[in-house]
């Protein structure tokens, strides 16, 4: 175990991991849950229930509808109140959601436990993962079973377990690693089996010494895995940069990790896989970090999918001062919410509530061509040039210089002294180009 070099570019935002020492706490199941049918990248799930149906916890209520899609399960037992559009924390608009009125009994469907789960056949693991509706839990929510079934012409050499958690404020993964290192280790081993890789790495940033210690202990039973301590730098948790830092390989522009023989999975996902394979438990809850200077009870909470932000905050002590901005995800890439009625979904790694003091509002100034954005861009793009092209409506020229390589990590906007919302321009440019297609 050695600290390695990492990647070029990136920034050092203030980490503010104030909840790192708060153990994961469970939260009561709310009376009403809003379960969006689209909690993942790709096509929304097809609803399997209708208004008035009774459901049990863990019952499949949404079915895969396409190659890239994922199942959705009922987080608790109760009655389907309706299937209606409801505010979504990522989509930025309302999307169809199954609204479940909890009966308070939390009855589960029959779960099939496995004895010799570590020896499950690879194909079966993938099948279980698919059935359990597991998606990437770092934030992007890419359906995991797709990642676990690479095409035969792309053999997987390495599995990388992502424990970097580079976003400031967020500590959910940190806590998971400290408290459930054994489950993560076994889940990781299952991933390794599923993709047929020989070697695995666990990448953890150097600012989480306790997690590193716990993981090292847990993984000692899996010699295929090596713990790699990464330098603390944003966005170390980006798949591409993790791969670059650990293997030295660069995922080609427009390509996927499997193109360089690597599969990356978040520690939360590894744990979900463990739970699905061992206990047959579908993904209906997750650990999320509630933090920010506006909340009274910051901490890491195990919540059911579909719990609204409002409920979670009220249950944990409410606001200690007026919130001015509420974010789903981390402060660098998270999305600001216009209502607290949005539910926690599979990809909600954190909820941050800032008071006005911490909200940053500044007018966009003229670019002074300082080149800071180019210096920090981990994808080695020219953010200022792309933004200028997009401003001028030259979308195709922006694409030519790498607009679609942008991972929207926000490093450029973070450093820009002229407060140019560079990432926003890129999102706009990408959307514009997608529309034109």
């Amino acid at each position: 175990m050695a600290i390695i070099k990492g990647f070029k570019g990136g920034v050092h935002p203030p980490y503010m991991k104030i909840t790192a020492d708060k153990p994961i706490k469970g939260v009561d199941v709310p009376e009403v849950l809003y379960v969006p049918l689209s909690q993942h990248a790709g096509a929304p799930a097809k609803p399997l229930v209708k208004r008035g149906d009774k459901v049990l916890a863990g019952q499949k209520i949404g079915e895969i509808a396409g190659f890239i899609s994922a199942n959705v399960h009922a987080p608790t037992s109760g009655k389907v109140k309706n299937i209606l559009d409801h505010p979504h924390p990522v989509a930025g608009r309302s999307t169809p959601a199954v609204i479940i009125e909890a009966d308070g009994e939390d009855n589960w469907i029959e779960l099939k436990e496995r004895e010799d789960y570590l020896n499950t056949e690879p194909k079966e693991i993938v099948e279980i993962v698919k059935e359990a509706g597991i998606v990437g839990m770092g934030g992007a929510a890419f359906p995991t079973h797709v990642k676990l079934s690479p095409p035969p012409d792309k053999p997987i050499e390495f599995v990388i377990i992502n424990g970097a958690e580079c976003e400031p404020f967020l500590t959910a993964d940190d806590r998971l690693m400290r408290e459930f290192a054994d489950e993560i280790a076994e889940g990781s081993y299952l991933i390794l089996r599923a993709v047929g890789a020989q070697k695995g790495f666990v990448g953890i940033e150097s600012n989480k010494p306790e997690a590193i210690e716990a993981m090292r202990k847990a993984f000692s039973q899996f010699p295929q895995f090596e713990i790699v301590v990464l330098p603390t730098k944003y966005p170390q948790g980006s798949e591409k940069h993790l791969i670059k830092a650990i293997t030295g390989r660069e995922v080609p522009s427009g390509g996927l990790p499997m193109d360089v023989g690597v599969v990356v999975q978040n520690v939360g996902t590894a744990r979900a896989i463990y739970q699905a394979v061992r206990y047959g438990k579908p993904l209906v809850e997750r650990v999320t970090t509630l933090t920010g200077d506006a909340v009274a009870g910051p901490g890491n909470y195990l919540v059911r999918i579909g719990t609204t932000f409002r409920y979670l905050i009220e249950k944990t002590g409410g606001f200690k001062s007026d919130p001015a901005k509420v974010i789903n995800g981390g402060p660098m890439m998270g999305i600001a919410q216009y209502t607290l009625d949005v539910p926690v979904i599979k990809g909600t790694s954190g909820i941050i509530a800032f008071t006005e003091k911490r909200v940053f509002l500044a007018e966009e100034g003229p670019c002074i061509r300082c080149g800071k954005c180019i210096e920090v861009c981990p994808m080695f793009l020219m953010p200022t040039t792309m933004a200028k092209l997009i401003k001028a409506g030259r979308f195709d020229d922006a694409r030519k210089i790498g607009l679609f390589d942008c991972i929207e990590c926000g490093s450029c906007s973070f450093v820009c002294p002229a407060n140019i919302p560079l990432v926003q321009y890129f999102k706009y440019g990408k959307a514009e180009l997608r529309l034109r297609k």
Binding site: T247, V251, V260, G318, I327, M332, F360, M379, A418, Q424
Partner: protein, 330 residues
């Protein structure tokens, strides 16, 4: 209770990221202005009250002309106080002869701001360094006044013996060398802010420490002059001044720390900046040794400014995941 409060107020929606580094254009500008203090103090120490007045006049003229121009174009006049005009004013004064009539300084600053910056669209859009545009204009308009230098502490000399030549001119036209120590402290004839290498190193070092300027650009510019000057010196030490003299004499250091590193007019990428510094460095040597003027810093930077868009086009970073075959260690 908390809920009610929340209801009263709408949540703020902004795109990510939701946190921001403390870098800010105004802060960058004012820090740069602050870093000019050592050369200003040295200039005033050596060249007296008139030099101070000249600096003040240039700053006032720069800010005022920017304000007036913005006003005339119905633009936000607060941009005149973002510190960039102040820097232009100070920098211009620092490259002017100490005894220059004040009104000439005012004319130069106004010209630099209006024709060097505002006509291009203001901060961020100018191609050339406004302070150097101002100086080039003054040089063309009042060549005699712009090449009349006074001795440091000139008030101690009889009135008819205060003028002198710059160390570079002495070397070029009279084969006279100036001791390094004098050059280092700045006790020689020259522009207000260019004589004291010591003061420039303090201010410039501060800028580098604060990461406002890219030290590689400064290094490639000075380094090129040093290396190229050194090669020529080794070829013919009698004919060409030694490289240390090249670095210490004239405005090279002032240019290297404050002019060529001007964010707006220098290339975006580090590689581009290094190439840009080398280009400007070569120009300095060419102008100094074979040109009509003894000093070449101003023109070297202005010419390099013109090449900047082209350099920006050539030196783009290699995009992540392109150009290299996948694979690597382990």
């Amino acid at each position: 209770m908390p809920k009610k409060q929340e209801e009263r107020k709408l949540l703020i929606i902004t795109p990510s990221p939701h946190i921001k580094s403390r870098a800010d254009t105004r802060k960058v500008m004012w820090t740069t202005a602050l870093s000019l203090l050592p050369p200003v103090v040295a200039g005033v120490y050596f060249f007296g009250f008139h030099a101070l007045l000249l600096i003040i006049v240039c700053v006032v003229s720069a800010v005022a002309s920017e304000w007036l121009f913005l006003k005339a174009r119905n633009k936000d006049t607060s941009a005149a106080f973002d510190g960039s005009a102040v820097i232009t004013g100070i920098l211009l004064a620092l490259v002017l002869p100490p005894k220059l009539p004040l009104w000439m300084g005012a004319v130069g600053a106004a010209f630099g701001i209006i024709f060097g910056k505002q006509v291009f669209g203001g901060l961020g859009y100018n191609i050339f360094n406004p302070a150097l545009i101002g100086r080039a204009f003054l040089m063309a308009a009042f060549p005699v006044a712009l090449t009349t230098w006074v001795k440091p502490f000139y008030w101690r000399f009889p009135p008819d013996a205060i003028t002198t030549a710059t160390p570079l001119a002495l070397a070029k036209f009279s084969h006279q060398m100036t001791p390094y120590l004098k050059l280092f402290w700045g006790n020689v004839g020259g522009s207000i802010g260019e004589t004291s290498a010591f003061a420039i190193l303090i201010g410039g070092g501060f800028l580098i420490a604060r990461k406002i300027i890219d030290w590689t650009l400064t290094a490639s510019y000075v380094g090129t002059v040093f290396v190229l000057g050194g090669i020529l010196w080794l070829i013919n030490p009698q004919k060409y001044p030694d490289p240390l003299f090249h670095v210490l004499a004239g405005g090279l250091l002032l240019g290297a720390f404050y002019m060529i590193t001007d964010l707006v007019t220098s290339p975006l990428t580090r590689k581009g900046r290094i190439a840009y510094g080398i280009l400007a460095g070569i120009l300095v040597i060419i102008i100094r040794l074979w040109g009509g003027y003894p000093e070449g810093v101003m023109f070297s930077i202005l010419i390099a400014n013109a090449f900047r868009p082209w350099i920006d086009r050539i030196f783009v970073p290699r995009r992540f995941g392109t150009g290299r075959r996948p694979g690597g260690k382990r």
